[in-house]
């Protein structure tokens, strides 16, 4: 056997394996370090601060958990959220994230390391990303080998699609959920491979952790049954599958029902019925296998046909009946919006109004995955070459996650791990093939053969390389895959010479380098902004921090009574609760559409309509976000149409979306703005005294690029209480009722010195009824 380059021959095999495992450990350590380090841009560029919106609630809940203990957290009723409805936090939250931080906090404090709970929360996501890299390594190792595993770990460690949800400070459920997702899948594959009840149980335990941590657990709940079902349909039923699935399902379902927020959903909602159905089917198949071993094949076939048909019909009827009676909840709106992207906009505007629920734009695939998005299909195809049970899993996962990632931006997160795994398989196969020094034996006709099959060489050689591993893995696994006819016939093909190898390997390494550069750039520029603090650049290139949000929230905290109720659009609810510590009407836990619509109605109505709503809800302050001065486009005027739409959904007679457009159908805020727009509370609060700021010059709204009228709107029922430095946050105080019982508009006119029109006593005569 000739070689392209010499290999050292004087090494014992134990030295090779020891060195290899040492290198693996060091590589994993470095990957973990890279994964953590690249997520710290946010801390270095800004500060150790909780990001965005939802993390503020998680942070606040974690503080309660750390301060009062788990049972108090479980029974925590938050009277400041959803005022005056309140929120039963303990029963409406996935406590996994808070519990994790709480445990870490308590362990560190038991070790006399007095770490602040905020720093634990900020650094939890980077920490767990290192674990995700490890879990992905384990998972990919099961698919191919440890070198592919290391590549996958490196990919997931720095890929922007995952970093976007796990930078330091992004203290959200996804921070730990992706680790749990990958680790549960790894355990499931292990349970399936070994037919081990132990691994099945471990998978169930981590599934429980996942259920406690993230609403996206339904992905696992459906992925594993689909995998099991496909295996059965492929005729790959085995006792390994039976043991693995049943132990996972039985224990996992019972465990998941212990989470208060989930409760009886696993047996009552449609999303969970797939898992139950596959569980039932497995019992039937297992029973059929038992009977088959006792009956002749002819009898068995008849029996099977009858049983399959009757049980199938009975099962379907039963499901329909239970759904009809309401014992099984029908599919939720969020579920329908997965299949019909226009559904949410039509029926549940509150879901459609969330930016992360929008369909994904094509560029964001490249942005989040870079070259992996091209290599990923190759990895999936390589899975077909061998098609062991676990490869079927990767294929299904790839197909399902690709679809979902196309429907919703946020589901890009579930696609990212499988992209990393499949790309790593492809990449490592490529490298295996081209680094392998073995030169093919050259028979006479070999040359043209090799030329002709140049395209296939990579794949075929990969198969040759993989077949060794296949032989090495457990005999059971080999038995499982023996039907797939993947064993290649020893043909003469391969790679000759160093130059070919060199070219391909350098090219591959170049791609990896560019991938690293891209990831670093995207992470530092796009995904590390806390969005609580904004940054801009001074003319000299230095960084200018815009800190209006915290300025305004701290103003509320220090200048208003503890029980002053603040109304704002729901986006800012968690931040107000977290930073200003004041009761809010609505927040980012959008469970009550009517309450949100009430706020939308108040914002989109004229003052005199809005005022009774504000009084009824004891509102003391109203907070709006206004970007017109600075050009901050995520402000309330740009979100205003969603408020109108959501309010219209509940009060179609009072609020109509078309009224807020000009007759030409434009969305304008200048002189041509429609009367409904100009009279709305939101418009008035945003542009109150705005034109005065320009000292007689032309006032310009920099977000909408429109010239504002000289005479700005006036407010009768609200007083301006606070406006932040760059006018991003404006806070208004709701005025008390008039001391003389007049409406505030005429009271204001009186104070301004306007004469009232003479009134007459009401006539006591009535018109004669016709």
């Amino acid at each position: 056997m000739s070689r392209a380059y010499p290999l050292p021959t004087n090494l014992s095999s134990s030295t090779v394996t020891n060195t290899a495992s040492l290198v693996r450990i060091v590589a994993l350590g470095l990957i973990s370090g890279a994964a953590i380090a690249s997520r710290l841009f946010a801390v270095i560029n800004f500060e150790s601060i909780i990001h965005e919106f939802d993390p503020w609630f998680n942070y606040r809940a974690t503080r309660v958990l750390a301060a009062k203990g788990f049972y108090e957290f479980w029974n925590w009723f938050d009277p400041t959220a959803w005022y005056p409805l309140g929120r039963v936090v303990g029963g409406t939250v996935y406590p996994g994230l808070m519990a994790t931080s709480g445990v870490i906090y308590n362990v560190l404090h038991a070790l006399n390391l007095p770490v602040d709970i905020r720093n634990i929360c900020v650094l939890l996501a980077p920490g767990f990303s290192a674990l995700t890299a490890w879990a992905t390594y384990m998972f990919t190792t099961e698919m191919k080998d440890s070198s592919a595993g290391l590549l996958a770990a490196a990919f997931i460690g720095i890929v922007p699609g995952y970093i976007s949800r796990s930078v330091a400070g992004s203290y959200d459920n996804e921070a730990i959920a992706i680790f749990l997702l990958m680790f549960t899948f790894y355990l499931w594959i292990k349970a399936l491979k070994l037919g081990s009840a132990l691994y099945g149980t471990l998978a169930a335990i981590f599934y429980f952790y996942m259920v406690a941590a993230w609403g996206g657990y339904a992905f696992i709940t459906n992925m594993i049954p689909v995998h099991a079902l496909v295996l059965m349909l492929m005729g790959r039923y085995s006792t390994r599958l039976y043991v693995g699935y049943c132990s996972w399902y039985a224990i996992g379902t019972l465990a998941s029902m212990q989470v208060p927020f989930v409760g009886f959903q696993p047996v009552r909602t449609s999303e969970h019925m797939g898992a139950l159905g596959v569980f039932g089917l497995l019992q039937l198949v297992a029973f059929a296998q038992l009977i088959r071993s006792h009956l002749s094949s002819k009898q068995f076939q008849n029996l099977l046909a009858i049983a399959v048909v009757s049980i199938g019909v009975l099962g379907a009827l039963g499901f329909v009946f239970l759904t009809y009676k309401g014992w099984i909840a029908p599919w939720t709106g969020r579920f329908y919006s997965l299949w019909d992207t226009g559904y949410a906009k039509k029926y549940i505007p509150i879901i459609a109004s969330v930016s992360e629920h929008q369909p994904t734009a094509w560029p964001s695939f490249f942005m989040d995955l870079q070259s992996l998005v091209f290599i990923f299909p190759a990895g999936v195809i390589l899975c077909f070459r061998q098609l062991r049970d676990e490869h079927v899993f990767v294929i299904i996962y790839a197909v399902v996650a690709s679809y979902f990632a196309g429907v919703m931006v946020r589901l890009m997160l579930t696609l990212t791990p499988v992209v990393c795994v499949a790309s790593a398989i492809a990449f490592s196969t490529l490298l295996d093939t081209y680094i392998d020094p073995t030169e093919p034996e050259v028979p006479e006709e070999g040359k043209e053969n090799a030329d002709g099959k140049a395209k296939e060489t990579g794949g075929s050689a990969a198969l040759a390389a993989v077949s060794d591993i296949v032989a090495a893995t457990t005999t059971e696994a080999a038995a499982g895959s023996s039907k797939t006819k993947t064993a290649p016939k020893p043909k003469v093909k391969g790679i000759w010479g160093l130059d070919t190898r060199f070219l391909v390997v350098v090219n591959a390494i170049g791609m990896l380098c560019f991938f690293v550069m891209h990831c670093t750039w995207v992470t530092s520029n796009a995904y590390s902004s806390p969005s609580v603090v904004l940054a801009s650049q001074n003319p000299d290139g230095s960084q200018h921090i815009i800190d209006d949000f915290r300025e305004a929230y701290y103003w509320l905290r220090q200048n208003t009574p503890q029980d002053a109720v603040v109304m704002s659009w729901w986006d800012y609810g968690y931040q107000i609760a977290g930073m200003a510590d004041r009761p809010t009407l609505v927040d980012n836990n959008t469970w009550n559409n009517t309450h949100i619509a009430t706020v939308g109605k108040a914002m989109s109505s004229p003052e005199e309509v809005a005022y009774p709503i504000l009084r009824k809800h004891d509102v003391d302050y109203v907070l709006v976000i206004f970007g017109g001065l600075l050009g901050y486009s995520g402000d309330d005027i740009n979100k205003f149409l969603w408020m109108v739409r959501i309010a219209q959904g509940v009060w179609p007679d009072e609020i109509q979306e078309p009224n807020y457009f000009t007759p030409q159908g434009e969305y304008r805020v200048d002189e041509r703005a429609s009367p409904a727009m100009r009279n709305s509370l939101m418009y008035k609060m945003s542009y109150h005294r705005f034109s005065e700021l320009f000292g007689g010059g032309q006032a310009v709204d920099r977000v909408r690029q429109q010239n504002m009228p000289k005479q700005g709107p006036t407010l009768d029922y609200l007083d301006e209480a606070f406006t932040s430095e760059n006018w991003i946050v404006r806070i208004y105080q709701v005025r008390d009722e008039d001391v003389l019982g007049r409406d505030l508009k005429s009271a204001n006119a009186f104070t301004a010195g306007k004469k009232r029109k003479r009134t007459k006593p009401a006539s006591r005569r009535r018109a004669i009824q016709q």
Binding site: Y71, W74, N75, F77, P79, Y83, P84, L85, G86, V88, G90, G91, P260, D563, K616, H617, D736, E737, D738, V739, L740, G741, R742, F750, T751, G753, K755, R756, R758, T759, K760, P761, S763, R764
Partner: protein, 465 residues
């Protein structure tokens, strides 16, 4: 919001009884009062100095009740100011317009409304000319007849001019009138009547006689035709109009509107002086002044039993289904003795337990006594917290014309039961208990049987081999 407890105020009033000096500052640094009013001693009288003699009886009466009177001419720009450092300087202000047309600049409608917001009581007597008071009146919901019209009545036939109308008090006016009680002398009125808008804070104290109307006294023939043209047919007539009206502002200030200064003037053989005293007593918060001394709620029965709260104590939060007791103490001001005394006389008080809408609305009756002891001024009721969690408000909102508004709100969260607050054993769950037990027993039996049969199976296998 919590009301102050009764005790310090009670002590203060005891002090008052002993120290009968002019306005002094007592040891607590609180201002003690010398007048009968519950809200202060200082009175500013805005009155034309030339006319002061006409009002001497009324003003002397005020002085006798312990008020410190300060006088100011309506046109005097440098007189004592109404507002000092943005705060009202006097507790009560009397403005008699008379025939003054233009007032000093700082006496404007806006200032007067500002005084009301600052809890200053006003007595305002309209004049026969257009003045600040005529432009202020609409803000209070008074609807004045066209300028220069007076109350006119041809009945009963009498010697005095038709514009001096004798008005006899009706029973419905009496509750406010302590001095007028039992005295049948009519009030002689000379001035402008007014109609009242639907503002619930405004109410008539003295209505015009049913046969009276507003008209111009100089041209007697064209009154009706005129008023048809000016303001509609015959609208400024009849007993729907008032000549004296009371207004209770938010915050407690009281305003008395008088159709003419004549009601305060010295008039022989009339009830005017007594009537003016009564109106001033009401306006200066001597009579019908109520106050909530304290309000508290406590747990009677409920989650406290499971160790979640203390029965018999006020709770920071209640659990759904708790029995809650609500107690309120109300007292009324006694002007003669200048002290607050427990008041047992309200029979239509209501308590609401509100979250957006009242979930509970029940009467809050005067307590019949507890443990054999009489409880004067105590209003008590118990109710069950609704089966709905949220932030609830205890609301007592009692508004009656002529009496101080009683308004009390306090928020309290009602929380769902704790995870261990439910019953441990439910009869409905017996099938599940049985299921769990039978499965456990079955498992143990199966394992035992399996282990016991290991040897036999081992033998069987060996045999087969």
């Amino acid at each position: 919001m919590r009301c102050h407890s009764l005790l310090p105020l009670f002590l203060q009033s005891l002090l008052l009884l002993t120290a009968n000096a002019a306005s002094t500052v007592n040891a607590n640094g609180e201002k003690t009062q010398t007048s009968w009013s519950s809200s202060g001693d200082s009175v500013l009288v805005v009155l034309d100095p030339a006319k002061k003699e006409d009002y001497s009886a009324f003003l002397d009466g005020l002085g006798a009740k312990g008020y410190n009177l300060t006088f100011r001419s309506p046109k005097d720009a440098d007189g004592p100011t109404l507002v000092e450092h943005d705060l009202p300087k006097y507790s009560h202000v009397v403005v008699v317009a008379g025939d003054v047309k233009t007032f000093a600049k700082d006496i404007s409608p806006q200032t007067l409304v500002g005084l009301v917001s600052g809890n200053t009581n006003l007595v305002l007597a309209l004049g026969n000319k257009q003045s600040i008071l005529t432009s202020l009146a609409p803000e209070f919901g008074l609807i004045l007849p066209p300028p220069n019209s007076n109350l006119v009545s041809h009945f009963p036939e009498r010697d005095v001019p038709i514009s001096t109308v004798p008005i006899t008090l009706k029973e419905s006016n009496i509750p406010l009138m302590e001095t007028m009680k039992g005295k049948k002398q009519p009030v002689l009125f000379e001035g402008t009547p007014f109609a009242l808008s639907s503002n619930p804070r405004l109410f008539p104290i003295l209505n015009a006689p049913v046969e009276s109307f507003a008209g111009d006294i100089d041209v007697t023939s064209d009154i009706l035709a005129d008023s048809v043209e000016k303001g509609g047919e015959g609208l400024w007539a009849g007993n729907k109009m008032a000549v004296v009206a009371g207004f209770q502002a938010k915050g407690g200030a009281r305003v008395a509107w008088l159709g003419g200064g004549s009601l305060l003037q010295n008039k022989e053989d009339s009830g005017n002086l007594n009537f003016a005293k009564d109106v001033a007593a009401w306006a200066f918060q001597e009579t019908n002044v109520l106050r909530i001394d304290s309000a508290e709620h406590r747990l009677i029965k409920g989650a406290g039993a499971t160790g979640n709260g203390t029965v018999g104590q006020p709770q920071e939060q209640y659990t759904v289904g708790d029995e809650i007791e609500f107690t309120m103490r109300i007292s009324r001001y006694n002007a003669k003795f200048k002290l607050w005394e427990a008041y047992h006389g309200i029979n239509d008080l209501q308590l609401e337990f509100t979250m957006l809408d009242p979930h509970v609305r029940i009467p809050l009756p005067p307590s019949p006594g507890r443990n054999g002891k009489r409880e004067k001024g105590v209003y008590r009721t118990t109710f069950r917290a609704p089966d709905r969690h949220g932030v609830f408000k205890f609301v007592v909102d009692w508004r009656r014309q002529g009496s101080t508004e009683l308004l009390f709100t306090e928020t309290v969260p009602v929380v769902p039961k704790r995870h261990d607050g439910y019953d441990r054993w439910l009869s409905a769950a017996w099938p599940y208990y049985l299921g769990a037990v039978s499965t456990s027993v079955g498992f143990i039996v199966f394992v035992a049987g399996w282990l016991a049969s290991v040897d036999e199976r081992g033998k069987g296998k060996k045999k087969a081999e």
